[in-house]
């Protein structure tokens, strides 16, 4: 379970204070599929980073399974992130010098040896995202959509319980978008908690809950 208790985040931008998130308290239950929408610059990515522990809130607490993640040391928080959370970013986030399979396998480097999944899992995930046989290719040999699917496979490698996706369908063609959403729904049915940020109102209907972020305030969609 993800809990945000009075979480607030402000930025300094152009000499002005911008409120990315005004004291928000809310919970994402295990197995939920929450879709967060909002206009550009509304603070959607910040909201996701706060949940994932990629940015420290100015005030309030972020708890994962009851543990305040900012009470942990950097090493503990990093390990927790590695074990429990998978990230999908809106841009191509593959390491250009590694092959597709190496990119997918990369998160295992940060797990204790006994917990690291075998390479076979990476190949299975590539198959699951429709990229069987692409393991030896380099990222630049793939299309934008294919790279995004590799990033999804990488996010799933360590069997995280939480998937945080930031505009995962950005720049994807319609068919790839549908395939990706079908995969997310399938993962959610299997019990994975998903928080997805998107600007697409159409995709919002795919989640079990829809939050709207506007002016730093989070509201539940009707």
């Amino acid at each position: 379970m993800i809990q945000l208790e009075g979480v607030a985040k402000r930025y300094q931008a152009g000499g002005q204070v911008v409120e990315a998130l005004a004291e928000y308290t809310g919970t994402v239950e295990d197995g939920e599929f929450v879709v967060v929408t909002g206009r550009s610059g509304a603070g959607k990515s910040t909201f996701l980073s706060l949940i994932g522990g990629l940015i420290r809130p100015d005030s309030g607490r972020v708890l994962i399974d009851g543990q305040d993640i900012w009470q942990l040391s950097d090493a503990e928080r990093s390990l927790m992130r590695c074990r429990t959370t998978g990230f999908v970013f809106q841009f191509a986030s593959l390491i250009p010098t590694l092959t597709v399979a190496e990119n997918v396998m990369l998160p295992t480097a940060f797990l204790p040896a006994g917990e690291a999944p075998p390479k076979q899992r990476a190949l299975e995930l590539l198959e699951q995202v429709g990229l069987a046989g692409y393991g030896d290719r380099m990222p630049w040999q793939l299309s934008g959509g294919q790279q995004k699917r590799v990033a999804v496979a990488r996010a799933l490698l360590n069997r995280p319980r939480i998937l945080l996706a930031d505009e995962p369908t950005a720049d994807l063609d319609e068919q790839t978008e549908q395939e990706l959403m079908a995969l997310f729904q399938s993962l959610n049915r299997d019990g994975m908690t998903i928080v997805m940020v998107t600007h697409s109102a159409e995709l919002a209907s795919l989640g079990s809950r829809h939050l709207i972020l506007s002016g730093g305030r989070v509201q539940s969609a009707p």
């Binding site: 610059g41 990515s45 994932g52 992130r81 590695c82 010098t97 990369l106 040896a113 690291a116």
Partner: protein, 405 residues
């Protein structure tokens, strides 16, 4: 275990990243190569000169050299570089030196200057006649190596006197047999042939009829008197007493020879050190700029790694590791090229600055090379530390998204 596996993966990323930017890597390597090469060559010269002076002065075995007034500089040059030289004073000086309190032993030597191309097989040769009866500089070695005195027409050669063992040494029309070769000292005695003093008059006599240019050595004269004092604390006192008691002579102490060499090393280093410091500073600034740019370029990648579970410490290590790796490669190449360049220009450097040189032991050279390479690694770490630390302190969200929310 987690740390080790992560370090391996991050190191691989660093290596791949270096290969992805060959131009930037080459510039970094080149700058470190220059700094390391100059540092290593400079250090090697200093070590080699000090080693040569240490070995040479120990081999010389004398605390003082008494020479005719005005011959100190020439003696210094002959002693250090083996430049042939000839000067003479009356042989009675030897007994007068012996009579001075504090003198434990005194032995005369006669310098016979050879023509540049008259020796058997080398262009530069100093022939030194020594007195086997009183000598304490050549004889100890002779007894260690030969277990006997030199016979008639037998000589001992310095290590750099080139000739084949079966070939007789022809000097001023006389033939000599080389029965021993001294260990290298890096100093003038490497270019010297030692003959018994009693052979010198014969050589002079025969040169009158057999040599193109006869030797002009006044009968009964000597070039120098080697002096051993009763103790190190007596050296200055005895030197002063000799100069005060015996007119027309000067005294050269072992300390003066060492000081002279040190002065020459200093004048060489006076040119080399500013260059080294300049190259070092330029390298440091260049590396700072390069690694700052490289770090900023990889900010998003680092942010993504952190999102996957890399710690801040690991990201610092991966960025510093990249810099250290580049600097180690540059330093290894620099050391290798430094040795090569020094090997090529060794004679030019040493003769220009009147310096003796004896290669330090391989262990010393290896240790110094390791020191230079490690120093370069530290330079890399220093140059990368600040940008890496800044990036590591940045929360992953900002690394990934820049200033965007």
């Amino acid at each position: 275990m987690r740390t080790g596996r992560a370090a391996g993966a991050l190191l691989r990323l660093s290596i791949f990243n270096l290969m992805r930017n060959p131009g930037r890597s080459a510039v970094a390597i080149l700058s470190v190569l220059l700094a390391a090469g100059i540092t290593f060559a400079g250090g090697l010269i200093t070590m080699g000169v000090n080693h040569a002076v240490g070995v040479g002065m120990a081999r010389l075995g004398a605390d003082l050299m008494v020479v005719p007034r005005g011959a100190v500089d020439g003696t210094h040059t002959a002693l250090v570089m083996g430049e042939p030289i000839a000067f003479y004073m009356d042989g009675s000086v030897v007994d007068r030196v012996r009579a001075i309190p504090g003198v434990e032993a005194a032995s005369p030597q006669v310098f016979v200057e050879t023509l540049a191309s008259a020796a058997c097989c080398t262009g530069r040769l100093l022939v030194v006649g020594f007195d086997p009866e009183t000598d304490f500089t050549v004889r100890p070695w002779l007894y260690e190596a030969l277990n006997r005195d030199l016979g008639p027409n037998e000589v001992v050669a310095g290590n750099h006197v080139l000739m084949t063992p079966s070939e007789p040494l022809r000097l001023y029309g006389s033939e000599y047999t080389v029965v021993g070769r001294l260990d290298p000292t890096g100093m003038g005695m490497d270019e010297t042939v030692f003959i018994p003093l009693t052979s010198v008059p014969d050589m002079v006599e025969r040169s009158r009829t057999l040599a193109e240019k006869p030797l002009e050595i006044p009968p009964g004269s000597v070039s120098t008197v080697m002096v051993r004092t009763a103790g190190p604390d007596k050296v200055e006192e005895v030197a002063r007493a000799i100069e005060e008691t015996i007119p027309g002579v000067s005294v050269l102490t072992a300390g003066q020879v060492t000081q002279g060499v040190t002065r020459n090393v200093s004048s060489l280093m006076a040119g080399l050190i500013p260059i080294s410091v300049g190259v070092f500073l330029v390298s440091l600034i260049l590396l700072l700029v390069l690694f700052s740019a490289a770090t900023m370029e990889r900010a998003r990648e680092i942010g993504i790694l952190r999102a996957m579970g890399a710690t801040a410490r690991q990201t610092v290590l991966t960025l510093a590791g990249e810099a250290i790796l580049l600097c180690l490669i540059g330093a290894l190449l620099g050391v290798a090229i430094g040795v090569g360049v020094y090997g090529l220009f060794q004679d030019l450097i040493l003769y220009s600055f009147t310096l003796p040189f004896l290669w330090p032991s391989l262990v010393q050279q290896a240790l110094f090379a390791v020191l230079v390479v490690l120093g370069a690694g530290a330079l890399g770490a220093l140059a990368a530390a600040w940008p890496a630390w800044r990036l590591a302190r940045l929360e992953p969200h900002y690394s990934i998204h820049g200033g965007n929310t």
